[in-house]
């Protein structure tokens, strides 16, 4: 069967259950795709032997009737997740050769559900970036190309390898992480579906920390239903992460078929600034009309502090990062560049080990936390963060779920000058996604159509805290209407 990699996770699971094909056949099909598409640089570490051993073990489980919810499903894992015995570097030079002696909770749960790991996926260094270009291993490449052009495009970031690999069918689904849009923006750029769960829904244990009050793990998959299936396995309280929630985890697939009739869809005025790309606007308007036609009620809402979200984010995220990344000292793991004193060893190691964007953010973070500036920057940002969160609390008194574009543009070319010369231009990619992280809410991006250049555009659905179910069922209804043709 040559088209096994075309199947969604849900379809593949049904095929495995019926023994239409084996887990080993499925894994081999994906390994072949992984090899054929190496040009995309989506995987930074391939573990075919381990994957085949896991697949054979899965086949034995099927034979014994003991198959788990994701038994034999081949996944790609973002290189930010610690995987026991498999090199994990967060795509940074400073973690050269690091092989974790332990497993992150999310990947542990996926393994318990029977998933097969094909390897580790490319990403921006320490998840800092919106194009995958800050990776020490070079950028992953978007499988999509603009019409009439052969230029390589970015897959988005930071989970660029995850989105590219799912779009190119190099894995059935992937894990990602999202601190300011890092699941949703690459999903939008690559025409796949990505879900950032509520802060606290998934354990952060064993995920290389970037900004601890914002980071959250989630799935990137071929469709909405697969995101629900994956989240079922990934979510849940973990004593090893004190910020993970003790709330019960529902079966996220159970609500997908529910009608959206009578559901109130919030449309925020502030997400339609003057000068917004008309293609993003028209894609958004089509989504609004589809939901209205399905019986949902469209409610205009206001999120007045939206325009401050990026500035708040670029204080809080670097502040937390500067603290989290203090651990990379050349002593305990990864790269060591010798020096004559301890300080010199630290400085040599960190200067060589971190890339320019990471160094920039560590310095910004150090500055805004330093004596004399803490109140003016960090405390101020935390206060505005509360106002941003309050905006959502107010909005959700009037609506059940919010619909917006995921990103202001479609995928841009590698090495785009306007982005590389001014970091703020790159950061603007996150303009529609960062508020969600600051407020800790769940949000999903699904492919909604093609731009005039023939590239995917995404729509974002934002839900109340711990209401992934409404997000998923609305996305599922939209997905049926949009009928997007995957790459």
């Amino acid at each position: 069967m040559s088209d096994l990699t075309r199947l969604t996770v849900g379809e593949a699971k049904k095929g495995l259950d019926k023994k239409a094909f084996s887990a080993e056949e499925l894994t081999r099909a994906y390994l072949k795709k992984m090899e054929e598409n190496r040009r995309l640089n989506a995987f930074v570490e391939e573990v075919p032997e381990k994957a085949l051993a896991q697949a054979r073990a899965a086949d034995e489980k099927y034979a014994r009737g003991e198959a788990g919810a994701l038994e034999g499903i081949p996944l790609g894992i973002k290189d930010l997740f610690c995987t026991k015995g498999i090199k994990t570097t967060a795509c940074s030079h400073i973690l050269d050769g690091f092989v974790p002696p332990y497993e992150s909770t999310v990947t542990e749960k996926l393994l318990e559900a029977g998933a097969v790991f094909l390897g580790k996926l490319n990403m921006d260094e320490f998840a800092m970036g919106g194009s995958n270009e800050t990776s020490y291993y070079g950028p992953a490449i978007n499988p999509w190309k603009a019409q009439g052009s052969n230029a390589d495009l970015v897959p988005g970031g930071s989970s660029g390898g995850s989105a590219a690999a799912v779009a190119a069918e190099m894995c059935a689904a992937a894990t990602g992480t999202d601190t300011g849009g890092s699941i949703r923006q690459p999903a939008a750029f690559c025409g796949v579906t990505g879900l950032k769960p509520t802060y606290g829904r998934c354990s952060r244990y064993g995920i290389v920390a970037f900004a601890s009050s914002l980071d959250q793990a989630g799935p990137i998959a071929k469709d909405v239903s697969d995101c629900a299936l994956l989240l079922n396995a990934m979510a849940g309280y973990d004593p090893k992460d004190s910020t993970s929630s003790k709330r019960a985890v529902p079966d996220f697939t159970a609500v997908l078929e529910q009608s959206v009739k009578g559901l109130k869809i919030g449309v925020p005025a502030e997400y339609r600034p003057e000068g917004l790309n008309p293609e993003a606007v028209s894609c958004w308007d089509k989504g609004i009309e589809m939901l209205r036609a399905s019986g949902a009620e469209i409610v205009p809402i206001s999120l007045p502090h939206t325009k401050y979200a990026l500035a708040v984010y670029y204080i809080i995220a670097p502040a937390e990062a500067s603290s989290n990344l203090a651990r990379y000292d050349g002593i305990r793991y990864g790269l060591r560049v010798p020096g004559n004193s301890l300080d010199e060893l630290y400085i040599n190691t960190r200067t060589e080990g971190f890339g320019p964007e990471v160094r920039r953010r560590i310095m910004i973070g150090t500055y805004v936390l330093s004596a004399g500036y803490y109140d003016a920057y960090y405390l101020k940002a935390q206060k505005v963060r509360r106002l941003i969160r309050n905006d959502f609390i107010e909005a959700f008194k009037k609506c059940d779920v919010i619909l917006t574009p995921t990103a202001p543009t479609d995928a841009f070319p590698l090495g785009d000058k306007s982005m590389s010369e001014n970091p703020i231009n790159m950061w603007l990619n996150d303009v529609f996604t960062v508020s969600v992280n600051l407020a800790g809410l769940p949000a999903l991006s699904l492919p909604a159509g093609l731009s005039s250049r023939g590239l995917p555009l995404g729509l974002q659905l934002i839900g109340r805290a711990f209401d992934e179910e409404t997000v998923l069922k609305t996305a599922y209804a939209l997905e049926k209407e949009i009928n997007f043709e995957r790459k």
Partner: protein
């Protein structure tokens, strides 16, 4: 709040990062460009607003103070660039 060369050097040291002399000016300019952009937050009235430290409304849980996964010295040291006698090795810090 523009920052000067001296501050850039100080922040670099606090970050344990080296900036080559030839790059100091460029870094200073970039820093000020970013800080100028961040200044927009001064337009927001935050009087009587409590800073938001965590979006998690659940109380942090306490646990028994017991060793749960102990005796892993070798695993802890296995990734060290330099280790000896069951310890991490660092340059001499005491004269």
């Amino acid at each position: 709040m523009a920052i000067d060369t001296e501050t850039v050097r100080k922040i670099a040291f606090l970050s344990r990062l080296r900036i080559e002399n030839s790059k100091i000016e460029e870094t200073e300019k970039e820093f000020n460009h970013i800080l100028d952009w961040i200044e927009q937050l001064n337009d927001v009235d935050t009087d009587n607003v409590e800073p938001l430290e965590s979006v998690n409304d659940e109380a942090l849980s306490l646990r028994e103070d017991v060793v749960c996964e102990g005796n892993q010295r070798d695993e802890v040291l296995q990734n060290a660039p330099d280790a000896a006698y069951g310890y991490f090795v660092v340059p001499k810090v005491v004269e």
